[in-house]
């Protein structure tokens, strides 16, 4: 059984100017011990997909259709209490802007402590915990150990520091530490290395590789950085305007993209070995989320567009090593 199985997920946001279809029919599975990359430009629906997996989408957003199964159970039908157990315990999330994700008036160590404490047996009343009356030495020791594991120097002292006393890289590592505290089976990582310098990025990628190897954790790695995907991910899902354009093994998709959109994404990466080459810039803009085309979402920007691309968004064709939502792949479909 897959750790995560998403079928035909639709997440909409009801705004005053109309319904924004942030996610329109996503299918996605992740197996234990697998790192899946979810790539696409800003606004393609990556983060909304992640929030939907934990049923965290808030008003005015709503999950309009589809199912999310974690370990076989239907996440979207769970009660708020059952969800609270799952969230942070078995499924955890790393947020895009970690400085923003921590409470500014509480020490970082304490915030990690509270996460761990609320998922341990014999939990006390939340108000007792909130008043700081349950400071648990075991939990504190575990948090300090975790801060050490994610590469925070002097973790004992750092435990009592406030978020604003951490640098960007340090707070990102603390966020990763929080996500890994309860030995989750599934980690949803939303651009966890964006804004980090290369050496710290390498450290965190290494941390995740070890984690997957040791604990068989499943990871959904959301990014727009294809070089990270190449280094880390087993499979990759390419999203565009709320739709999946291409899914397959990282090697297959990145070395020989079948969707013109994946090709365009790859071409947009500046090549340091060809400094004289003019940089490729994709023509046009991401379609207005309030007014998306009926046909292929990428049709207006696609260099290989055909007439029928404007009529219907193509179904996904299975070509053996991948699935591609493009009519170009129709002939290769099995």
């Amino acid at each position: 059984m897959s750790v995560l199985q998403i079928d035909d997920l639709h997440t909409y946001f009801d705004t005053e100017s109309g319904t924004v279809r942030a996610v329109e029919g996503i299918d996605l599975t992740i197996e234990a011990g697998e790192i899946v990359g979810l790539v696409g430009e800003s606004g393609s629906g990556k983060s909304v997909t992640a929030s939907s997996i934990m049923d965290l989408v808030q008003h005015p957003g709503r999950i309009a259709d589809g199912t999310v199964r974690y370990d076989g159970q239907d996440v979207l039908s769970l009660s708020e209490d059952e969800l609270a157990e799952l969230r942070g315990g078995e499924i955890s999330m790393i947020f895009q802007d970690p400085m923003d994700a921590f409470n500014p008036t509480q020490t970082v160590g304490r915030q990690l402590h509270d996460v761990l404490r609320s998922h341990r047996e014999g939990s006390v009343h939340p108000l007792v915990r909130a008043l700081g009356l349950d400071h648990d030495a075991d939990c504190k020791a575990a948090v300090v150990e975790m801060l050490d594991a994610v590469g925070i120097p002097n973790p004992e002292a750092r435990y009592s520091d406030y978020p604003h006393e951490f640098s960007g890289g340090m707070i990102q590592r603390a966020m990763v530490g929080m996500a890994l505290l309860c030995d989750p089976k599934l980690v949803l990582a939303d651009e966890p290395t964006t804004g980090l310098d290369v050496s710290i990025e390498r450290q965190i990628l290494g941390l995740f590789k070890d984690l997957v190897e040791e604990l068989d954790t499943a990871v959904l790695w959301i990014t727009h950085d294809l070089s990270v995907v190449a280094k880390l991910c087993d499979r990759v899902v390419v999203m565009y305007a709320g739709k999946v354009m291409e899914v397959g093994s990282t090697e297959a998709v990145l070395s020989d993209p079948a969707s013109p959109y994946t090709q365009a994404l790859l071409d947009s990466i500046p090549r340091y070995d060809r400094p004289d080459e003019e940089m490729y810039v994709m023509e046009g803009d991401v379609p207005d989320p309030l007014n998306r085309p009926d046909g292929c979402r990428f049709a207006d920007r696609c260099p290989e567009v055909h007439d029928r691309c404007h009529d219907h968004h193509p179904p996904r064709f299975d070509t053996g090593d991948r699935e591609v939502a493009c009519y170009l792949a129709e002939g290769d479909a099995e």
């Binding site: 157990e85 994700a101 500014p104 020490t107 509270d114 939340p126 909130a130 406030y162």
Partner: protein
């Protein structure tokens, strides 16, 4: 030197120019009032010699700068001279009346806080529901009700038919605690209602803003109990700016006390100020004005220190790193 002490000293140094500014304004009250104070005190039929004599006595014949330095020098020692009306020491008059105004203002503030916290929190937690609408309508009514009218209404509805509440005057808590409560309750409500309404709105808005913050989303994504997040972290962060406003609102509270003391016949600073203004009793006016200025500065100093204690981001003038 501890950081708290250093911070306090810094804030105290800032208080000096503020108080000096207040002293200039206070001193000018006498100078800018049309007419000769000595002539006013003695009346139209007094002789020119008598007026000159009084001017000398009051120091009015000296250059204005000398008068000011003299004023500041004495004021710094808590000496504002004698009342022109009663010949009493102004400082003694103030000391006698401070307890009444203090009791009224503290009780008013207490009522404001006790009412606004639950109502504001309920409004935020039940946003858009009936309880929220009720709290908002209540806050609007509270803010737009003049305190003198509310005072008269309270007297009419409660004090007149019920013997428990006196219609006139106030008993100090040091004299008789029970009588102090019954005699302070109605004027404190009259004084505190507008503050309660303001704080309710601030707290509700502050909590709704905080609920949009990333850390609330994080807490939810990590399965932390919703009540814990709302009633402890969100509330704490929303209370921080409210504390600043409480300090700033002290001026409004003292201003309101002037009216409420008048309505309820409370022998406090406000009543003293009004009498002094009618009598052009300049030393008393100056004493009251400086007292209010000092109270205001002290309260805001207290708020700053409290704020720095509660919010680690502004911990006593920057972080160590």
């Amino acid at each position: 030197m501890s950081r708290l002490l250093r911070y306090l000293l810094g804030r105290l140094l800032w208080a000096i120019p503020v108080l000096l500014g207040a002293s200039v304004v206070t001193f000018m009250i006498m100078q800018l009032t049309p007419g000769d104070p000595a002539r006013f005190i003695l009346g139209q039929r007094a002789s020119q010699e008598a007026v000159m004599e009084l001017r000398r006595e009051l120091g009015l014949h000296q250059p204005i700068f000398v008068q000011y330095v003299d004023f500041v020098f004495h004021a710094a020692q808590g000496d504002f001279g004698q009342s022109l009306q009663t010949r009493e020491e102004v400082t003694a008059m103030l000391l006698q009346r401070i307890p009444y105004t203090a009791q009224l203002s503290i009780a008013g503030l207490l009522i404001a806080v006790v009412v606004s916290f639950p109502v504001g929190v309920i409004g935020a937690v039940r946003e858009g529901e009936a309880a929220d609408h009720a709290s908002r309508v209540g806050a609007l009514l509270g803010i737009s009700t003049p305190n003198f009218w509310l005072g008269l209404l309270l007297i009419l509805v409660f004090a007149v038919p019920l013997e428990a509440f006196p219609i006139f005057g106030m008993t100090l808590v040091t004299e008789d605690p029970i009588a102090a409560v019954t005699s302070t309750l109605l004027p404190a409500i009259a004084l505190g209602t507008a503050q309660a309404a303001l704080l309710t709105r601030l707290l509700r808005g502050g909590m709704l803003d905080e609920m949009q913050e990333g850390y609330v989303r994080t807490a939810r994504a990590y399965g932390i109990d919703n009540r814990e997040t709302t009633y402890v972290y969100v509330l704490k962060n929303a209370v921080l700016p409210t504390i600043t406003v409480i300090g700033l609102q002290l001026g409004a509270l003292l201003g309101g006390a002037v009216i409420v003391e008048q309505v309820f016949g409370i022998p406090g600073i406000g009543r003293l100020a009004i009498q002094a203004i009618f009598n052009k009793d300049f030393p008393v006016i100056q004493g009251v004005t400086m007292l209010v200025a000092v109270t205001f500065v002290a309260a805001n100093l207290l708020v700053d220190v409290l704020y720095a204690q509660l919010d680690p981001r502004i911990r006593l003038g920057g972080s160590e790193r």
